[in-house]
């Protein structure tokens, strides 16, 4: 009993000491806030770079501080917090499907992902590589997410949205940081990053190695289950991988040279490429990027000029067992080993001119070459005797090498035509060597309605070019290419309001409607094969509400609600798979000095099936995550502890129509993660 009282006393004294110290530092902070602004402002003001306003849009900017606050280790954890964006999963490697405003497809080429403004799009299916296995965020300075069409500036694939990942420069890192992370499912990561000077260069470097076994939730039934052949279901999903990520950034004067390397090896197959569990299957992927950029903000009076050359290399090498041993006369299973190699060269020139009184002009031109220059295909199902793995690269591959050239020009003007009214008009023409021209305009009317309110009316048109798989696939009866395709398009109208309600409350409201035409789909032929066609239309509408409230000096509450309703026009049914309602709420509470508790709630609701899918709707789910983070400024050590899916919710993402995996794709159960980092 005595020990208990002493213990209690010690705890109380510690708490009183902490509270006293906190109160003292609060008054100091209040004084500093009068000169430097509040905490969030100091963080903004000390950032080395401001986002560049390129065109009026509905955008969300997530800073490195935000990323740290929510304890995110991967890009997808960050993107799930963006209003109107939900990260669903594909059976194929559990690759992310960034569902923006109701537009959801399996390969997800309708979202353009950029790293430092340069696309990381592969040309085979138009996605970000089929061997993805995550993207770490320690080296990310900022993520900008633009919802709605952006092809007038960004060109191809800026269709439902654009995700631009800005990596850290030497100034952002400022010193050397070492980090370690360990968590559930035997997940381990180690990284080092350095920012400083190297001779006359500002130099930044980053290296990360990681491994996970991945979560092992059970797939109860798969594509083989209803057949007479042996299925591996029930069995666990396969999500392990090894990862290496590296990045270098050298800058001097007006020049910047960047290079990035990502390797994924032993990457498992998720729920199976053919929706049949494949624990043996393994993938290897590499992405190498480099760019040389010259920017002169004062090239001539009022003229800012940027010239950029970039190179991007992707290889995807898959060794798959599409169906398990014993399937339809294949004692070793149906084996397919597609390999492919791509390289992309880009060159562009852009300029911004501000010399006219009421106009801001931006114009640019560029060229790029997308080259699927090599493939290799070995399998045991194309040539007799069936069941023997043979090289069919030259005889009957899934695709042959192809390349395309794209040339483009664009222009944009922001015209201040009456006080507080701005009209931005832009147009871009892209010429593709395979399907011809596409022209995409953008109009934005911005009204600075009051000192605390901005209103925007936006119109934009976007395109998504047919991928090489859609144009040139051969020998794959369920996905045959068609060289006579044209791009699918999306037109959207948005009405957006940004309201600084009080000094501590910011509110945004966005309303949107969109119309997709010439949707690219694989359509069934009179026989049982499928060929890519421009077939179908989809429209939708919805809204997003965002709130950020600094409830107290040590408590910030924020969140958003997104609602959408999308209709497939062929069937007049819901387009499917995207949540009609999505709620995200977050609290950041600095409960004692140097310790921050972050709580997140994510509620995903009302996901209908695709029109051809007769299963009942996907069950709603909500998950709660907790992150406890410290930065002990006296020692340069930082620790973070995170629990994801605290209440162990049964969260599932929809498997695609017609439901070969009938019970959908289970997400991870409760998991924990511990992170330690040291600043030298």
């Amino acid at each position: 009993m005595k020990i208990s009282i002493e213990h209690l006393l010690a705890v109380l004294l510690t708490a009183m000491w902490a509270a006293g110290a906190y109160a003292a530092s609060q008054s100091e902070e209040e004084e500093l806030a009068l000169a430097y602004g509040d905490k969030s402002f100091v963080t903004i003001a000390s950032g080395s770079q401001q986002p560049i306003a390129r065109a009026p849009s509905v955008a969300t900017v997530i800073t490195a501080e935000d990323i740290k606050a929510i304890g995110a280790a991967d890009l997808d954890e960050v993107l799930e917090t963006v209003p109107g964006l939900h990260v669903a999963r594909s059976p194929l490697g559990y690759n992310p499907i960034y569902t923006i405003r109701g537009i959801s497809t399996q390969y997800n080429p309708q979202v353009l992902m950029l790293v430092n403004g340069i696309p990381i799009t592969g040309v085979y299916v138009g996605d970000r590589s089929q061997i993805w296995a995550g993207m770490p965020v320690e080296n990310v300075a900022r993520i900008e997410v633009i919802r709605g069409p952006g092809s007038a500036l960004y060109g191809a694939d800026a269709f439902s949205g654009v995700i631009n990942i800005i990596t850290k420069t030497a100034a952002d890192i400022d010193g050397t940081q070492l980090g370690l992370r360990a968590g559930s499912f035997n997940s381990r990561d180690a990284w080092v990053q350095h920012g400083g000077t190297w001779g006359s260069f500002d130099a930044a470097a980053y290296l990360r190695v990681g491994h996970t076994d991945g979560q092992h939730q059970i797939i109860a039934a798969d594509a083989v289950t209803p057949t007479p052949f042996p299925s591996l279901a029930p069995g666990p999903v396969n999500l392990g991988y090894d990862a290496i990520d590296g990045r270098i950034d050298l800058a001097r004067d007006k020049w910047r040279l960047r290079a990035g390397y990502q390797q994924r090896s032993n990457a498992k197959t998720g729920a199976g490429v053919a929706s049949a569990l494949d624990p043996k299957g393994s993938n290897f992927g590499e992405r190498i990027s480099t760019d040389l950029t010259y920017q002169d903000t004062n090239f001539a009076p009022d003229l800012d000029v940027t010239v950029q050359a970039s190179y991007f290399y992707i290889t995807e090498q898959s060794d798959l067992t599409l169906y398990p041993p014993g399937y339809a006369g294949f004692p070793d299973g149906v084996v397919g080993n597609p390999y492919k190699w791509e390289r992309h060269l880009r060159f562009n020139l852009s300029a911004a001119y501000t010399g006219l009184q009421q106009h801001k002009l931006r114009f640019g031109a560029g060229t790029q070459n997308d080259d699927l220059y090599r493939i290799r295909d070995t399998n045991n199902y194309t040539l007799p005797p069936l069941g023997t793995v043979q090289d069919v690269t030259d005889i009957a591959p899934f695709i042959r090498p192809h390349s395309r050239r794209v040339n483009y020009v664009y222009a944009q003007d922001e015209w201040a035509f009456i006080r507080d009214w701005y009209l931005t008009a832009g147009v871009r023409q892209d010429h593709y060597s395979d399907f011809g021209n596409t022209v995409n305009p953008r109009l934005a009317l911005v009204w600075e309605t009051a000192y605390d309110l901005t209103s925007k009316l936006l119109y934009g048109r976007a395109f998504r070019p047919p991928s090489f798989a859609e144009l040139y696939n051969i020998n794959n009866p369920v996905a045959l290419g068609n060289p006579n395709l044209k791009p699918e398009t999306n037109e959207s109208v948005e009405l957006a309001f940004a309201w600084q309600a009080t000094s501590s409350l910011q509110a945004n409201l966005n309303l949107f409607r969109y119309q997709m035409k010439d949707i690219l789909r694989f359509v069934q032929n009179p026989d049982t094969s499928y060929t890519a066609q421009n077939a179908g239309r989809q429209h939708g509408q919805g809204m997003e509400v965002e709130l950020v409230w600094d409830a107290a000096a040590n408590l910030r509450l924020s969140g958003n609600y997104a609602q959408q309703h999308s209709i497939d026009e062929t069937t007049s049914q819901d387009a499917g798979n995207a949540p009609r309602h999505h709620v995200y709420a977050r609290a950041d509470w600095r409960f004692v000095p140097h310790w921050i508790l972050n709580t997140q709630l994510n509620y995903v609701a009302d996901r209908k099936r695709e029109p051809s899918d007769t299963r009942p709707p996907v069950a709603d789910y909500h998950t709660v995550d907790l992150t406890l983070r410290s930065k002990n400024q006296n020692s340069d050590w930082a620790v973070a502890f995170k629990v994801l899916n605290l209440f162990n919710a049964d969260a599932r993402e929809p498997s695609p129509s017609p439901g070969l995996i009938p019970n959908d794709l289970p997400l991870a159960p409760r998991e924990w993660r511990f992170e330690l980092s040291h600043q030298l």
């Binding site: 110290a21 500093l32 100091v42 963080t43 009080t502 600095r590």
Partner: protein, 333 residues
């Protein structure tokens, strides 16, 4: 000049010196330091001009801690490495700190922040003090010592305002004399030098401040009149006065500038905010002067002259101001 650092292998546990973390090392070095301090106390007093600089700053969390680190970088840039930098709190052992400073032959302490100043004042008369990183100091709290305020020099604010809007004739301000009396004296001189009329209203509470702002907006004229918001929690209260000022100034197209940089995000035209490294260099310059002469030169409150600018492009456009050269611009998009 004898300002080279005199580093010891560790620090006693009562002072958490950045980089010294091992408890055992701290205990051993603490014991050694006490011994050396005892020796120092019994030694003859050192002559003026023979000391080094030390910095005392608040033991405070991020992001504000980073501000003090930048100021210290500026100090070290100007003066070379200092004797030691001490994060201090209410729990700091003043006697132990004093001994440590004496032992290191510290001639001048640069005290940063409210906590740094409070600790430095408690050190007594033996060590000279230069203060920075505070807004204002009541005269009875810090008599006869030099203090560089975090309040930007009104002369710089007015010059920037005139550059943005050359037609400016009158500057209105509502201030609480207990916070900004010293600054308004300087502002009146600065205004007349630049051909401006400073119309200053004295308000000691929120209610009278609101009344004065209403008077100002009734009388002000967009072409020639501007409004200055000083750093003042009474007359520039964030939740009631600031929205009122922002709304009326927007509707009447009256330019507002502020000494609080976060107001730029809310919608004031511009602000000047501390260039932390520059402030550090200025503090070091003052301290070095004292070390050399052994005497205080300038004393009392001095406004901040090491500044950077922040501007709100949205408000600038609304006011028809095309000159937009600021170190930082808001809103971000």
């Amino acid at each position: 000049m004898a300002n080279a650092p005199t580093f010891l292998p560790g620090m006693p546990a009562f002072i958490r010196h950045a980089g010294s973390k091992c408890r055992l090392a701290s205990l051993i070095s603490g014991a050694a330091l006490l011994f050396l301090a005892a020796l120092a106390i019994t030694s003859p007093a050192r002559a003026a001009g023979d000391g080094v600089l030390a910095v005392i700053y608040p033991d405070i969390g991020e992001p504000y801690r980073g501000i003090f680190e930048k100021i210290i970088e500026g100090i070290e840039d100007k003066a070379g490495a200092t004797g030691a930098n001490y994060p201090v709190s209410d729990d700091t052992d003043i006697a132990g700190l004093k001994d440590s400073l004496r032992h290191q032959n510290v001639g001048v302490v640069i005290a940063l922040g409210r906590q740094g100043m409070k600790t430095a004042m408690a050190l007594g008369d033996g060590i000279k003090v230069v203060v920075g990183g505070v807004l204002t100091v009541p005269e009875n709290e810090a008599p006869e010592i030099p203090v560089i305020s975090l309040s930007p020099d009104p002369a710089l604010l007015f010059a920037r305002m005139k550059a943005l809007k050359p037609g400016t004739k009158r500057v209105f301000v509502v201030y609480n004399p207990s916070f900004n009396g010293w600054l308004i004296k300087l502002a009146k001189d600065a205004a007349s030098v630049q051909g401006l009329e400073l119309v200053a209203y004295e308000a000691r509470d929120l209610r009278s401040a609101v009344r004065y702002y209403e008077e100002i907006f009734a009388a002000a004229e967009g072409r020639s009149d501007v409004l200055w918001l000083p750093q003042d929690p009474t007359t520039v209260e964030e939740n009631s006065i600031l929205p009122l000022v922002l709304q009326k100034s927007w509707n009447q197209s009256i330019a507002v500038f502020s000494s609080n940089v976060s107001h730029v995000r809310r919608g004031v035209l511009f602000s000047l905010y501390p260039d932390n490294a520059g402030l550090g260099r200025s503090l070091a310059g003052l301290a070095q002067g004292i070390l050399v002469s052994g005497e205080y030169g300038k004393r009392g409150m001095m406004p901040l002259r090491d500044v950077q600018s922040a501007g709100n492009l949205r408000t600038a456009k609304h006011l028809g101001i095309s000159q937009q050269s600021f170190d930082m611009t808001l809103p971000e998009q």
